[in-house]
């Protein structure tokens, strides 16, 4: 079976502490519960969580929705977005199966990045690595006014922003991520085609501004 890998890159820097980090945790939980009700997503979508603060780490390896269990995350430190891009690049190399004559590969991964700040590390070198990996699409979300959409725009075409990083906005973002994963898993199963950009995803809610 071809899996649909989904990588969530979550900013856990100090500025996220309090309401934002709780909202992120809650968002992931709600997302999982809701995707579990989608017959295509529950079989196809595999989820991994990578957090980044002063450094980045994969806290949950690529896991099927059925077995997925969210772990506790805490907000502390700076914003090593570049490191996160390196980590996800490695994870894609190690976890996403390529198609060969003898094995059926996975679908190209979906990558969702959420950050509320400006990267504090050498993010360009991380970006160079990330750019050599094939993804179906990457969506970056700038949560609140502290995030730099110009940086995110260099990582991906698909940038959305939240006016404030409050629990309601973050919940909306995750609801939209959920719908996007649902649509992608349906699409790959039905037509054998991958989703390639923002325009093929469900329209974002009004709380999400598309950054052009």
């Amino acid at each position: 079976m071809r899996r649909l890998p989904v990588y969530l890159l979550l900013d856990t820097s100090g500025s996220m502490s309090g309401e934002p980090i709780e909202a992120v945790k809650n968002g992931v939980q709600v997302m999982i519960s809701s995707l579990r009700q989608n017959p295509q997503a529950i079989e196809t979508a595999f989820l991994s969580v990578i957090t980044f603060d002063s450094s980045a780490r994969q806290i949950i390896p690529l896991t099927d929705l059925g077995s997925f269990q969210m772990v506790d995350i805490r907000a502390t430190g700076t914003t090593a977005l570049g490191d996160a891009l390196k980590v996800v690049s490695n994870c894609i190399d190690n976890e996403v199966a390529k198609t060969t004559a003898e094995t059926k590969g996975d679908w190209k991964p979906l990558v969702f990045i959420m950050t509320d700040g400006i990267p504090t590390d050498d993010w360009q070198s991380g970006l160079r690595e990330f750019q050599t990996r094939k993804t179906a699409y990457t969506v970056a979300c700038a949560a609140g006014s502290g995030a730099d959409t110009n940086v995110l725009k260099q990582i991906t075409e698909n940038v959305v922003s939240l006016d404030t990083a409050d629990s309601q906005s973050i919940a909306k973002f995750f609801a939209w991520v959920t719908a996007s994963i649902g649509v992608s898993s349906t699409k790959v199963e039905d037509s054998g085609k991958e989703v390639t950009g923002l325009n093929e995803l469900p329209p974002p809610p009004s709380e999400l501004n598309i950054v052009v």
Binding site: M1, T186, G192
Partner: protein, 486 residues
């Protein structure tokens, strides 16, 4: 042994009670007093009691807060999770009792410390561990700890089965099946709407058609898969199959075809290589006309439909009207001669045709599949560019095959809904042993013990095949069509 004197000295000092030098003798006497000594003992006992009690309370709270992660379960599926008390640091429990497990179909096996059973519902289910820790009174009320177990819904129950809209243009039956005689051979075929279509009430995109054409003795079997992302592909696949049958039945240049048959007869005598080549080229030319016929029929219908229902043609990605009817096409044309069977095939798209020899020691894949690197790279009979000279990945000429065999046991035509689930990768289609496994599967070697009895007398055969095709395969919920000639 409690040191009475320093204790009282410390106590008095704390309370700023000064023992003057001249009262030292009196103090010595004071501490020797038995009831005073007893009082100290009692105080210390009470203090210890308070401290122990506090420690116990803390310990209980720690246990209540302790995160016990147990693997997620799936509804209606056997569950087994060991609780490793030692690893969790729960060595000090003197009493445990589980509450609320039975309601969800589970139980705790004390011998193996496992939660087991078959969950009867899904959701984030909570149950209780009642416990007492060492130090607590055996008769005290036990403490309660809540544990959450995620029970995933059984994926099978999440799929809805919504009938397709009968009022819609080009509606067709959600499922179809048939059995028939093709000369001395028989065909059983079924086409099931995929779960992904049932779930949203969309149409079956697959189709098939077959016919034994009495006046020529040739049999034709066609299978087609409409492209899910194009709205009228259900009609494209239907028309592609019917057009092929129609062509060989009604539009064939009969004299020309007789000549072709004579060459086949001649070859059976002479086995001359050049003649074989000539026949092969001619076969391609003849089949090509049927392909083109199907292509043009769809094109005509697309034009007519655009006249009558222009509102349906609103996809900015469509390059031509025929795109709305995108469908793959495979077909086999075969006839029995004195020297054996001639089997001619054509294929565009990702649906395989294979033939298994009489002794079941060899299976040949008769077409090269159009598959892209990441899927979705398939080609359609409706596409103009497959007819181009330098068409990629296959030229038109590479799409045909001719087999001259004494006999065969099975000829298979299937859509990717079957092949993806049962063969997984293209490479497996070239392996005879995989086809033998497939045959065993059809003969009942599967989870559901679903079996197709390949006996022409078997009146249930088409039902059996349709039932067999309902197999469960995670991630494979496309339409499924399988035609077997035997």
């Amino acid at each position: 042994m409690i040191e009475i004197k320093p204790y009282i000295q410390k106590l008095f000092a704390q309370k700023e009670l000064i023992i003057s030098d001249k009262r030292q003798a009196l103090f010595e006497e004071f501490i020797q007093n038995e009831s005073n000594q007893q009082a100290v003992k009692t105080i210390i006992e009470q203090q210890n009691y308070l401290m122990d009690k506090w420690k116990l309370k803390n310990r209980i709270e720690d246990i209540i807060a302790l995160q016990i992660l147990i693997p997620n379960a799936t509804e209606s599926k056997e569950y087994n999770a060991k609780i490793n008390f030692e690893k969790l640091g729960l060595n000090d429990l003197i009493f445990e009792e589980w509450q609320g497990l039975e309601e969800i179909g589970l139980q705790f096996d004390k011998e193996t410390d496992t939660i087991k059973g078959i969950p009867n519902q899904s959701g984030e289910l909570k149950f209780k561990l009642l416990f007492k820790v060492k130090g607590e009174d055996e008769n005290s009320v036990p403490n309660e700890k809540y544990i959450t177990l995620v029970v995933n819904p059984d994926p099978k129950t999440l799929w809805k089965n919504i009938p397709s809209d009968k009022e819609a243009i080009f509606w067709k039956e959600d499922d179809a099946k048939a059995f028939g005689k093709l000369g001395e051979k028989h065909i059983v075929v079924a086409s099931n709407r995929g779960r992904s279509h049932e779930n949203v009430g969309s149409f079956r995109d697959d189709d098939f058609a077959f016919k034994f054409i009495e006046k020529t003795g040739w049999s034709v079997v066609a299978v087609s898969d409409g492209a899910g992302s194009y709205p009228l592909s259900r009609k494209g696949s239907e028309l592609a199959c019917n057009a092929v049958v129609d062509y060989f039945e009604n539009h064939l240049d009969k004299e020309n075809f007789l000549e072709f048959e004579n060459k086949l007869l001649e070859f059976s005598q002479t086995k001359e290589e050049n003649l074989h080549k000539e026949i092969e080229i001619e076969a391609k030319q003849k089949l090509y006309k049927a392909v083109l016929f199907a292509h043009n029929q769809i094109k005509d219908l697309a034009e007519k439909t655009q006249q009558s229902n222009p509102e349906l043609f609103n996809n900015p990605k469509a390059k031509s009207l025929s795109d709305y009817f995108h469908a793959t096409l495979i077909f086999a044309l075969f006839k029995k001669f004195d020297f054996g069977y001639v089997v001619l095939t054509f294929g565009v798209g990702d649906c395989p045709i294979a033939i298994m020899d009489k002794d079941q020691v060899n299976t040949s894949l008769l077409n090269t599949l159009d598959v892209g690197e990441f899927g979705g790279g398939t080609r359609f009979v409706t596409q103009g560019d497959i007819y181009q000279q330098d068409a990629k990945p296959l030229t038109m000429a590479q799409r045909f095959n001719m087999q001259i065999v004494t006999d065969f046991s099975y000829l298979f035509l299937m859509t990717d809904g079957i092949y993806d689930a049962k063969f997984v990768v293209e490479a497996n289609l070239e392996k005879h042993e995989k086809w033998m496994e497939f045959l065993e599967d059809l003969n009942g070697k599967n989870e559901d013990n679903a079996k197709v009895n390949f006996n022409p007398e078997n009146e249930q055969i088409a039902d059996e095949l349709a039932h067999w095709m309902d197999f469960w395969s995670a991630g494979n919920h496309d339409d499924r069509t399988l035609a077997i000639i035997f």
